[in-house]
Assembly symmetry: C2
Homo-oligomer: 280 residues x 2
Amino acid sequence: MSPSRVEDGATRGQIIPIGGAEEKLNEPQILRRFVKLCGGRRARIAIIPTASLASDTGSRYESIFSDLGVDWAEALPFETRHDAEGGEALERLGEATGVFLTGGNQLRLSTHLGGTPAAKKIRLMNAAGVHVAGTSAGAAFLSEHMIAHGEEGSSPRVGSVTLAPGLGLTNRIVIDQHFRQRERLGRLLTALAYNPFAIGLGLDEDTAAFIGHDETVEVVGTGAVTVIDPAGLEFSSMDTAHPNDPVCMLGVKLHILVPGATFNLHTREANAGGLAAGKG
Amino acid sequence: MSPSRVEDGATRGQIIPIGGAEEKLNEPQILRRFVKLCGGRRARIAIIPTASLASDTGSRYESIFSDLGVDWAEALPFETRHDAEGGEALERLGEATGVFLTGGNQLRLSTHLGGTPAAKKIRLMNAAGVHVAGTSAGAAFLSEHMIAHGEEGSSPRVGSVTLAPGLGLTNRIVIDQHFRQRERLGRLLTALAYNPFAIGLGLDEDTAAFIGHDETVEVVGTGAVTVIDPAGLEFSSMDTAHPNDPVCMLGVKLHILVPGATFNLHTREANAGGLAAGKG
């Protein structure tokens, strides 16, 4: 499930994890930017409500995107693996300029869509320029390594996080959502302690990371994105620690990004951008 | 209230913040090490229960230290500022080889002891070699810059922490306790964002940082000590952010220390010590 190859001449679409509870009515900055990115009025947005057990999640987002001026926003009913293997919904998916995965339970996404033609199609579409956003569970699912569930708490503990394969639009990041609100630093650090090749993105609610084709993370919303970069990790005790032990991690780098600040996943450089320029 | 000067020929006593809820009966590793440090059976431990509103806090620690083999462990009743200005309790304090500040409310410590001869005496005694431990509120109070109170949450927010002057045994650190259990990374980061000269120590429950005269932090207990080193901070938006805004912080270094690992507050070097040596 690694990311699909970008063909010559094509540009990968943005990958947009959202921390959940994004503003939908007044000042919906994140959704508005997503719509603009996908073509504004001419955007064609495929909504995938598979994570949610609520029957109206899809239609609710149809209304929200319609209120934002989108003519074509359609919830695609991938409710079973069979639905995701072929048929009309899959064809409709192929017409989208943007894909939006709702919240719910990320294990519903991975169990219902994992390995299906629908999942493969989303990866191919993203490689060909279609933007893919996911909120809450939808955000967790976007990357190759998905946090399936875990415990709350600031410091890392053996066993405090369960990883599972995700959609795999990128393998550079491990995403966590509701980050500030549900105290998830410990479980995200634990996820990285296993193998510090990836970068952790902890998304507060109503906060999104817009990841461009040049690997630059831009922040939109009212909260922060916590970037955990373990590239300089000097030591991890994950290989010798016992269940429920705290995990020793030395030399982790942390950036707290707010709107205006950026981070590049390739160069691993953080930039205060306009925030710094605004200073005397 | 800066640290008292260590006289020629003297060695500063250890400074020992404890994250609260330290084990008291089975395997009381932290208290046992504190007792050993203070002289074992010949230790003379002054217990300061001022932070606590419970009337039996002092006598409870008298029993605990007595069970650990200490002949002289006495709760000193500094209940008012008047008590801390002179009299028998102050004289008894001067005989101690170790001082132990209990939990409760750190603002009771700072309002009752701040600026009194008792506070001054503890600083002088520490500079002369007496070890000073504090648990929970007692830990918060040890340093020059004390977290008085704050909000829970992983990412820093303007206004999420209130700082106040503490006892001032050291000014190199800002201490937070119940760290993992009460989700305090955000408030500790916020405290450091104001002025990144200090190092943050986030102490899990039943976990202590034994800080030696050479500024080495050793970890004892069942949890972790989260070290936040902002020395390399590239940017903080604290000067321009508005109330309740998330705070942008780029380039913070993080170490999660477990027992066996160390950190030097002077050189700012983390070391896995025995943990690394134990690996093939």
